[in-house]
Symmetry: C2
Subunit: 259 residues, 2 copies
DNA sequence: GTTGGAGCGCACGGTACCGTACAGAAACAA
DNA sequence: TTGTTTCTGTACGGTACCGTGCGCTCCAAC
């Protein structure tokens, strides 16, 4: 967040460059890190590091996509918003992706609400119009970014399956893994209430599920916090709904080859 | 299917053109119809009309995308395949879309199994490599096609929500609407068994749900067939999980404007 | 220290599903 | 006709959820 922002700026001030400039090697976002350097050069003049506070609304369902951001820490929950105001989580995104993939699919409006979660941190932000121009110049960049969208859709698909066939305990295990993957710490800052929204169930059901997970030693719960103690046990509980989407991400993003 | 194929070929034989050539106006697929004529010209030499029989496997999860097809009749169910062989439906596609949208998202492998359903009919098929070349020549075509992918993802998202918050009766109503939209007739050829796969529930639960729908007069059931008698009643049952994705399709596809 | 709120534990009856199973009815083949 | 398969109706006990509500505990604010 702000402190970090200042720290990063200071770190580079001695180079004589714009102190606000973002460099590819110090970017905390995996897509920024792994994109072709020439593509990064297209984006760099327009990238700015901004603070992201847990609870921030990064996008409003139905409104125009004006800025896109590449998280460097924390997570972003994608929520489908119903007419009655209820919100159901359809996916989770962190520093491995970017908030704005619908733009790369030709959509100029947010299909979901996006909420910052997990921890306060930073993101690299760019105006949607700038990104579109860069993609027009470099089709390879567009292809690279839309491959992430493909990976996210796979995650959505697995979430759908998990919701349909698994108990709340298993679904909770899966969601904790999605969180854990995207944060640096084994200690997750999350309440039962928030998990219940993500899973689309009662808060009390989450409490019960977490007790079961505590029972077999895979997690420890404190007030507003959860500590991951046995990841393997969690993975085992998710059966096949965790891992495939993550492998798909690596397959699609790791190689810089275009289709 | 084959009969229709021959009929279409005969219809054009007197023009002196290649009897197998596909014309934009007589294509039954909405995307083919609505794409820019110049883009259609890029595809035309490589398009072929092929029969599609209900039950055909159009794609195998995990295998390479070699051909892409634009259905002219019937529907295609997208299924996530689990390690134990169980299959869960994540979406439905018909003549309004195309089987192969993952390719336009930079993915060279099928993320799902795709099964032809509903009725026998035809599709316009093209080799994936040919389509990629056409998209490389015309970015506008790529943008147009990937916008359909965006609409499909919205449908997936609503399916996820529907599975999470609605009773089997409501989810059945929604699925019947998705079918009905993509077929010409009020009479749907579908068994309880098949619906149960699509909804991820017991076959007996579907039977029960259909009886409820018959009870309020919205459908009539026969052996292997269902007749839609009151669409509005079905729509009402789906609450907000039907309609939004369909509106999104029109918003993204109707105008030929690029972003 | 007191107060207030947020987070959590727990309990109640209710119900919408589940897995399984079996038999009748319709379509089809020989 | 007879058999065979497919589709449908129905039943059973079991359970994993649900909506609701209430009270405890921790923590922060004052």
């Amino acid at each position: 967040m702000s402190d970090q922002h200042i720290a990063v700026a200071a770190e580079h001030s001695f180079t004589g460059q714009d102190p606000h400039a973002v460099e590819q090697n110090d970017a905390g976002n995996w897509l920024i890190q792994r994109m072709h350097p020439a593509d990064f050069d297209l984006l760099r003049p327009h990238l700015r590091r901004v603070p992201v506070i847990s609870g921030d609304q990064l996008a409003e369902a139905g409104s125009a996509i004006e800025t896109v951001c590449f998280p460097e820490s924390g997570v972003a929950g994608f929520l489908d918003v119903l007419d009655d105001g209820r919100k159901i989580a359809v996916g989770l995104l962190g520093r491995e992706g970017f908030v704005g993939w619908p733009l790369l699919m030709g959509n100029d409006r947010w299909p979901h609400e996006v909420m910052a979660r997990g921890r306060d941190g930073t993101a690299l932000q760019i105006d949607a119009s700038r990104l579109k121009k860069a993609v027009a110049v470099s089709p390879g960049l567009g292809n690279f970014l839309v491959r992430y969208a493909s990976a996210f859709v796979t995650q959505m698909s697995r979430t759908l399956v998990s919701n349909l066939i698994h108990s709340i305990e298993r679904r909770t295990a899966r969601w904790l893994l999605l969180y854990h993957d995207r944060l640096d710490s084994d200690e997750l800052t999350i309440t039962h209430e928030e998990l219940s929204i993500m899973l689309g169930v009662r808060r009390a059901s989450v409490t019960e599920a977490l007790h079961q997970l505590e029972g077999n030693g895979s997690i420890r719960g404190h007030r507003g916090k959860l500590v991951i103690r046995d990841r393997a046990a969690l993975v085992a509980l998710t059966c096949e709904t965790y891992g495939q989407a993550e492998a798909e991400y690596l397959r699609l993003i790791e190689p810089s080859a275009a289709i």
